[in-house]
Every structure is written in structure tokens, then in C-alpha cells.
């Protein structure tokens, strides 16, 4: 590993001290199969060609990099919005599911499983399964199924089999547990499409590579618009952290680019109901990797809270734990209330209603000095799915 690559995964599957593949023997053959094959498959020109083609003609890439003039005026900065909300299915999640289903096909897998929290990754997975004619099973926490009914129906319309996770807290982490158990029981013909840069190596790396298209586009789009291919700051929200990794990826070694990660503070970091992992978490092992996670002193994983269902995961991807530890990225904690106001702000100033996840990233503009800076905010998703939350919040 060269020092140039100190923020990317090393040959043992670690980012600094975080990462690894802490999986039971029952899952190991699947993980080894992926570890041994993913780079070779992804580097094949036929793979790249199909991936690029689907991203362009099916997903709608490149997504625009839009200079938000009224927002820029407000902050006296040059603020660009990377419009992942304009991707097919309404969020960046599909970049990864397109990549992973092609990977699954190359590995001759017949069935797909996935977990979902808010339902965005589930919808993106159900979508690519329909596209490829593959059987699709989505695990979703029983509590989340009640909270995210429209997405449950979207997945059903797309032909997916939705299974309710009834264990533990019945939310995202439990859906992930159930998906892993399903994979243990069906080890040979099934590929598990993890939705974020979490899980055992090589998942964090392969998801990061599929999402890296975001910063690849930012580079050439910025170059076209301002004559240099880097901003002063990139801001993204972090739950597990896949959209953030995508937006940071090609700037990881570009030290003049400030990387800002907005975590969900829920009711506040001094409150029990929060999901700000770098503020409240400690080192531990969750879903197969060593990372920062929210847990009790006894090592039991605690249930996080955020108004945004996409950010209430008790851990963060190991790469983010490493970016946090090394100081390469700056993390801030955004409360529900701050995020909701930021969401309204973007709606009123630019005519874009963001997903509440994204609204956390918008709010980070108030937490850092951005005057006279070139700032890129990753608009990870659109707010259509969150209308009920906006409505019940009501302060607009």
C-alpha cells in the first residue's frame, strides 16, 4: 500500500484499524468467493461497459452538478448541488445495486437478497432484480414496514418478496441480521446486495467503488464549470455512509479538499435518541466489520434514533471510522429540527425538496465556515418519500 492510498482498503480488508471480515464460518465461503473475485470481475472491460451503459441509459447519469445561485448568495459561497436525487428511483442507492447485480450475474448467482431500512435500498434492489429478471427477497424490520408503507408497496409492485424482520428491535440492523441468516441458510445460489459501505470485507470497498461514480462526475463537471476539478469542500450525510464515500472517493488523497460528513443527531447528542455514531459510538464489531458503533458497556448494540429512517443505523462504514480517526473528514451532528429547517430552506431557495437524509448535509452549511468557498453538497435523494414526515413536522 502506498501512502497515497492510506484512506482506501488495504490487502487485508482494513481501513486503518477498522474493517475486516468478522463472519461465522458458515458465511466465510461466500465472503471468500467475493474477496477473491470482485476486483477481477469489476476490472473486465465487458463489466465496465455494461455498468456504464446502465448508469447512463437506465439510471440517467451523469446527474447534474447544479450551481445553486440563491443558496450561494445566502452563504456568500459558490454552492454546487450534485443531483443524485435525479437518479432513477430517487436516490444514489441504485448506483450500487446496478453494480452488485452485475457482479452477482458474473458469479452465476440466481437469487438476490437485501436488507432495507427506509426502503430506498430495497426499492433500488427490487428495481435491478426486475430489470435482470432475478428472484428478489428483501428483509425489512417489522417496525420500518409500518413506517414506510409506500416503499413496501413499491417493492411489491416490482415483484420482490418482502420479509418482515421480527427479531430484536425490528429495524434496519435486525433486517441486516435476517438477511445474513438467510445467506447462511442459502450459501451457494444467492448473492447478498448490501446497501451501504458496511459489512464484512470486501463489501465496504465494492460499494465504495460503485458509488465512486459520484465524485468521478463531480471532477469533470467542476472542471467544465469553474476550470478546476476540485472544490474546497464536499458535504454529504452519513448513515452507513455510501453516498458520502461516493462523493469523497476521488478527493480522499486531495488534502486541500475538506470532507464534511453530517450525522443524524436525532434529538441531540446529549440525548438518548440519537444516531450520531462518531459522537456517541465506540469501537466494536457489527455486521462483520470492526468500526465505530453505538453500544452499551456490555457490547450490546443499541437502537439509534433519527427522524430520517435512512440515517438511523447504529454503526458507520469502517472507512468513515478511519476518516474520523485520522481527521481526514470532519463530522458534525445535525439534529432533527436543524435538518428539517434545512430541508425547507433548500425547497424555498432552489425548488428542490430533499430527502431528510440529504437535509442533514444541507444543514452542515451552518456549521462550517463556507464564505468564499467552492462547496459541493451531495443531494443523495429526493424528498418525495418523506412527505409524510414533512407534513407531520408541519413547520413550513
Amino acid at each position: 500500500m502506498t501512502s497515497q492510498e492510506k484512506y482506501k482498503v488495504n490487502s487485508s480488508g482494513y481501513y486503518g484499524k477498522y474493517g475486516g471480515a468478522y463472519v461465522p464460518e458458515m458465511l466465510l465461503p461466500n465472503i471468500l468467493e467475493l474477496q477473491e473475485n470482485y476486483l477481477e470481475i469489476m476490472s473486465k472491460s465487458s463489466f465496465k461497459k455494461e455498468f456504464d451503459y446502465l448508469l447512463r441509459d437506465y439510471v440517467g447519469r451523469p446527474t447534474p452538478l447544479y450551481l445553486a445561485e440563491r443558496m450561494s448568495e445566502k452563504y456568500q459561497a459558490q454552492i454546487f448541488l450534485k443531483r443524485e436525487d435525479l437518479c432513477h428511483t430517487g436516490a444514489h442507492k441504485i448506483n450500487n445495486t446496478i453494480g452488485q447485480i452485475l457482479l452477482a450475474k458474473a458469479l452465476h448467482k440466481k437469487k438476490i437478497i437485501a436488507e432495507t431500512g427506509a426502503g430506498q435500498h430495497g426499492v433500488a434492489t427490487a428495481t435491478v432484480c426486475a430489470l435482470m429478471g432475478m428472484e428478489c427477497i428483501i428483509y425489512m424490520g417489522a417496525v420500518d414496514m409500518l413506517r414506510q408503507r409506500p416503499n413496501v408497496e413499491r417493492m411489491k409492485i416490482l415483484g420482490a418478496d418482502i420479509r418482515s424482520a421480527e427479531s430484536g428491535s425490528k429495524t434496519l440492523k435486525d433486517a441486516t441480521n435476517e438477511a445474513m441468516r438467510h445467506w447462511i441458510n442459502n450459501p451457494t445460489d444467492t448473492h447478498y446486495i448490501i446497501g451501504s459501505v458496511v459489512g464484512p470485507h470486501p463489501y465496504p470497498d465494492l460499494v465504495a467503488r460503485f458509488q465512486s461514480v459520484i465524485s468521478k462526475e463531480i471532477k469533470f463537471q467542476l472542471n467544465e464549470q469553474i476550470g478546476r476539478d476540485f472544490p474546497d469542500m464536499v458535504i454529504a450525510c452519513v448513515g452507513g455512509g455510501s453516498n458520502a464515500v461516493g462523493a469523497f472517493y476521488h478527493y480522499l488523497n486531495h488534502s486541500s479538499v475538506q470532507l464534511v460528513a453530517a450525522e443524524a443527531a436525532g434529538l441531540g447528542i446529549d440525548h438518548k435518541k440519537s444516531a450520531a455514531t462518531t459522537f456517541l459510538g465506540t469501537e466494536g464489531i457489527l455486521h462483520g466489520s470492526k468500526t465505530l458503533l453505538m453500544q452499551t458497556a456490555d457490547g450490546q448494540v443499541t437502537e439509534p434514533y433519527s427522524i430520517s429512517a435512512g440515517l438511523d443505523y447504529p454503526g458507520i462504514g469502517p472507512i468513515h471510522a478511519h476518516l474520523f480517526d485520522s481527521g481526514r473528514a470532519h463530522f458534525c451532528a445535525v439534529t432533527d429540527e436543524e435538518a428539517m429547517h434545512a430541508g425547507i430552506d433548500l425547497s424555498r431557495l432552489e425548488g428542490i425538496i430533499p430527502a431528510i437524509e440529504t437535509a442533514h448535509a444541507i444543514s452542515a452549511l451552518d456549521k462550517f465556515e463556507v464564505k468564499d468557498q467552492v462547496v459541493v453538497i451531495n443531494v443523495s435523494g429526493r424528498g418525495d418519500k418523506d412527505l409524510d414526515t414533512y407534513i407531520s413536522w408541519g413547520k413550513y
Binding site: 461465522p24 458458515m26 447462511i184 456490555d298
Partner: protein, 256 residues
Amino acid sequence: MNRINEVFFSKKKNVLSIYFTAGYPKIDDTLRIARVLQTAGTDMIEIGIPYSDPIADGPTIQDSSQKALDAGMSLKLLMVQLQDLRKYISIPVILMGYINPVLQYGFGKFCQDCKEVGIDGVIIPDLPMQEYVETYQRTFEEYGIYNIFLITPQTSERRILRINEVSKGFVYMVSSASITGAKQNVSQEQVDYFVRIQKMNLSIERLIGFGISNKETFKNACKYASGAIIGSAFINQLSKDASDEAIISFVGSIVN
């Protein structure tokens, strides 16, 4: 000699190991159940450390873990409950649990406390062999705690040979590609796998677990290994009736 080795030394066949979750069904049941299991004729005991996210376990063990946690069970409390373990228990006792609670407890302290209370071995399904060898093996050995590895029908021959070298006491043969939980019967595919491993003539003893639930499945598994492990079926028994008599009668139904 480690008590695990002693068992296999004195008993070549039909070794019965029984698993139960610490603090289930009642938080202070741990030592009582261990004592009754010994009295009833169990050869070895596995005590599960409850964990919030047990991905290798089926609904029965998940449920017992969650109930134990809800009642206030923790690894710290388990070590306290086991203070007097060796006053009453002479058979081997193994702790089975996931890596995260062990790391939060402090790995060195965990090994030290295991030794102090008289734990003979541990099974940590999500501690991979590579990590074990690089980071943990020395401390386990320093305290004389055996780390027991799992193998499955999908584990490659090369890996099995490596596990044969690294595992201590015995290897835990997971009977099928599955999470824990009682199943109907033993399939031909499983028998083929048992025979395949039997023919490898490993130097280490083998116990078969996952899906062993009664005398029939126990006897069947014992044809291909030194013995077998019963977990979920015993937890189901405890959920129905955890009295001393019920436990004695459950074990009796398997060994007699």
C-alpha cells in the same frame, strides 16, 4: 490436562454436550441449570453469552438471548454467577458467544476471568481464524483457554486441515448450511459430509451440532463423530419447563 481433553480421553463415543443461554429462563438460573445438567449425565456444557445481534442463531436462541438481556444479563454478571462454578461442576464448561461483547469486556480480562472461574474453552463464531492467529491466539494460550472452531459442509478441505492444526479440544461440525435450530432429520447430503470429514482422519476430536434435537438425531450424529451438541431443542425444553426434574428427564431421554 484440560477437562475437554479428559472427556475425550475417557469417553470415545457418544459425548453429549448441551448448550443453554446464560440467564435464561431466569436470570439466576445459570449455575443451577449447569449443576442439573451434570447430575443428569451430560458430558460437557456450553453456556451462551447473550448478544443483541446473534447472526448465526435461529429464532429459539435469539429469543432466549433477548429475554436474558431484557432481564439484565451481561457477560460481567455471568462471570460473577460463575464464581463458584468449580465448587460444583467437574465436567468441561465452554462459553459460546459473539466477539463484540468479549471485546467490550476486554479480551485479556475475559481470558483471565475465564481461567479464574474454570472455563475450559470458548466458541466465538464470528472470530475468524486469520484474526485469531494474528491477534488473539497468544492470549488464549497464555491462559490455557481452548478456542474451538467451526466447520461447515462448505468449508474447503484445505481450510479444514488448517483448522485441525489451530483448533483446540475439538472442532464443532456444523451439520448443515444453516443457522442454529432444530430440524426434522438427517439428510443423505449431511451423511455424505459427515463421512467425508470422518475419512479425513483429523487428529482433533469432532462434535456435531446444529439440528440435533433428540435421541434419534443424537445417535445418528454419533455414528460419524465423537459426540454431538444439543442447543435449541434444550432451550425449547427450558421455555416449557425449566425445573430440575424436567431437565433430568430431557437429558435422560437422550442418554438412556
